[in-house]
Symmetry: C2
Subunit: 138 residues, 2 copies
């Protein structure tokens, strides 16, 4: 259960990116959004991509695809791979991404694992559908 964030080589760029994501837990950003944000500090686009890759490998950051525009999203998950797993819901109309922490879903994860032999990866799985806001608008 111990995640070793073995980032042997430390650079200030790496620190800045990790800190920013850590302080924005539960929020997600595309690589380009991050690149844009760090441009002011003088961190180049390529560095953002390269550091994100390392952070994902280290387990500190989660990478997932929303399917919206083929742009990957990144978000801090830390060393605490919480067993419940946090699922994402993406609204097909307005694009909002909703984080779902729910016992009932965690139990389905378990059900599928035991009964169907399929081990769900909550970090990659995204539920598509219509959010309550958009439903009400209709």
């Amino acid at each position: 259960m111990i995640t070793v964030l073995k980032l042997e080589y430390k650079t200030k760029q790496q620190d800045l990116i990790l800190e920013f994501l850590k302080n924005s837990a539960q929020k997600h950003f595309t690589a380009l959004e991050l690149a844009e944000h760090f441009k002011t500090v003088g961190i180049g686009k390529a560095t953002v991509y390269r550091q994100l890759e390392k952070l994902v490998d280290s387990g500190a950051v989660n990478k997932f695809f929303t399917g919206e525009n083929a742009a990957a999203c990144f978000e801090f998950v830390g060393n605490s791979h919480n067993e419940n797993g946090c699922f994402h819901c993406r609204c097909e109309l307005c694009g909002t991404l909703i984080h779902l922490h729910c016992e009932e879903i965690a139990s389905v994860k378990e059900h599928i694992e035991k009964t169907h032999g399929f081990e769900i990866n909550p970090f990659r799985t995204v539920f598509y559908g219509i959010c309550s806001d958009c439903r009400n608008k209709k």
Copy 2:
């Protein structure tokens, strides 16, 4: 239960693409793979993209992201919109697509709808994870 694939304008390119996907049910292709395949018949890349979009809108074809390389995948799902909703599980290792008909999952769909106000679209939603075969191999 009848899905009307209302494709008012019919072209032979559209027919070719739909037929090909229908005859390859359970298989998935990227847009570029399809474009490559139809290049020999004289169908342009842009047409493949544009027709795929329409077929997805019509419900005949499902579009999903493997997350592997940010390339979208397409596969025939037909008019069989069974009300239970058939969920897909995609193995991250071997790429197998598993069709899941299960009461328990249908109930979660309902739960999320009622409790979280989010209306899941079973056709777009794909569970990512590791299938039993690949788990056993490890």
